[in-house]
């Protein structure tokens, strides 16, 4: 029928339009990912300097700090989820949300009360749709995180960690983000950020050399006070950068697959349209022939 042919033609056209969009998204993601990885590399000197300083402090002073000690007065824990603002990145947001849900379940099973801090519009809408309460949320700029947004997130969490138990203080902070392994592998990861484990910080101290005996100006306590929040901020920033690079890589791959699928569909619809056209021609011929036969007899 002429009808079926037209329907196929329309589908081919709309699939081609979609394909163009997928291709554009793929190219945009591909061009941004280089920049995102560059930013990860640029942030490395800062985080290395801070990690080194924190390990120096940890090895040379026995001062204790609220950020290093477990809190026993509250069973609230904070979970920070870093997801993306936009979809079209395959299972990127879904898998990091699934990881978070698993963590929340585990924490609740051990008698903890979970406060969710969410960054990324996709995750925010996931939780608001399910009417789950969020302690705080951030949206925008998930594929190019800014230092001041990371600082804002870190400061909010540090305030929550400092707050007394009655005011909703939390005793632990877990971060769920996606680690950028390489262009094809991005892994959702859970880390416990607070209280800080100094043991972890001591290991990557240096190139095999012993850390020198430092003088602390004005005092070890003051240096620790200034250093630890910066350490947390820098780690949250680096988590966000990793997540951004992962998001772009996931988007590039998803859009690449989508483009290929669109091509397959176009090919399939073209075949079907051709078949319909041939069927139509055959039918017309047989109509003419049978009409002529009827007249001749």
């Amino acid at each position: 029928m002429a009808g079926t042919q037209r329907v196929y033609k329309q589908r081919i056209k709309s699939t081609q339009a979609l394909k163009k969009m997928f291709r554009a998204q793929e190219l945009i993601a591909a061009s941004r990912i280089g920049r995102a990885r560059g930013r990860v590399a640029q942030a490395t000197p800062y985080s290395r300097a801070i990690t080194r300083a924190v390990s120096a402090l940890a090895t040379h002073s026995s001062t204790s700090h609220p950020l290093l000690t477990d809190r026993t007065d509250t069973n609230r824990v904070a979970v920070l989820l870093i997801a993306s603002d936009r979809g079209m990145a395959g299972a990127y947001s879904a898998s990091v949300i699934r990881e978070t849900e698993r963590l929340v379940e585990r924490l609740q099973a051990s008698g903890k009360e979970v406060a969710l801090y969410v960054s990324g519009r996709r995750a925010v809408s996931y939780y608001t749709f399910r009417r789950r309460e969020l302690a705080a949320q951030w949206q925008g700029g998930s594929d190019a995180p800014q230092v001041d947004v990371a600082d804002d997130i870190a400061d909010t969490l540090l305030r929550a960690f400092d707050a007394p138990a009655e005011a909703g203080g939390v005793g632990e902070l877990h971060v769920v983000y996606t680690q950028f392994v390489n262009m094809v592998t991005q892994r959702p990861r859970v880390i416990r950020m607070l209280p800080l484990e100094v043991v972890e910080g001591v290991a990557p101290a240096g190139e095999g050399d012993a850390l020198p005996l430092y003088d602390f100006e004005p005092s070890p306590e003051a240096v620790l006070d200034a250093l630890l929040p910066r350490y947390v901020r820098s780690r949250i920033y680096s988590c966000m950068l990793q997540a951004a690079a992962s998001e772009l890589a996931a988007r590039q791959r998803a859009m690449h697959t989508a483009t290929e699928n669109a091509e397959d569909l176009v090919r399939m619809y073209t075949r079907l349209a051709n078949q319909a056209r041939q069927a139509e021609i055959t039918q017309e011929i047989s109509e003419i022939v049978s009409g002529a036969d009827a007249l001749a007899s």
Binding site: R39, Q42, A43, Y46, A49, I50, L57, P212, D215, E217
Partner: protein, 93 residues
């Protein structure tokens, strides 16, 4: 005379890196000056001006919004929160 190796880094990137003769920075309780052979020190910085004097007599200046400084075996790392240039406008965060 031995030279210092200096790195000035902010959260989102390296600002400057190179050799220098002297580094002065606004430490928590007064200006601190670093020459080669300085004892290892880890110091909190206030808001103020970081100066790096190079061997040729050239002096580099940044107005920083706080941070910290570490010195160990002639390797000076200045970690700053934010940098404003000499005229006071923000060039990098």
């Amino acid at each position: 005379m031995a030279e210092l190796e200096v790195d000035v880094v902010a959260a989102d990137g390296k600002i400057w890196s190179g050799h220098a003769r002297q580094v002065s920075a606004p430490a928590a309780d007064g200006e601190i000056g670093i020459l080669a052979g300085h004892t290892p020190v880890l110091s909190v910085l206030r808001r103020g001006e970081v100066r790096v004097a190079r061997a040729g007599g050239e002096v580099l200046r940044w107005t920083v919004g706080g941070g910290f400084l570490s010195v160990d075996s002639d390797l000076v790392t200045v970690v700053v929160d934010s940098v404003e240039d000499a005229t006071g406008t923000q060039v990098a965060h």
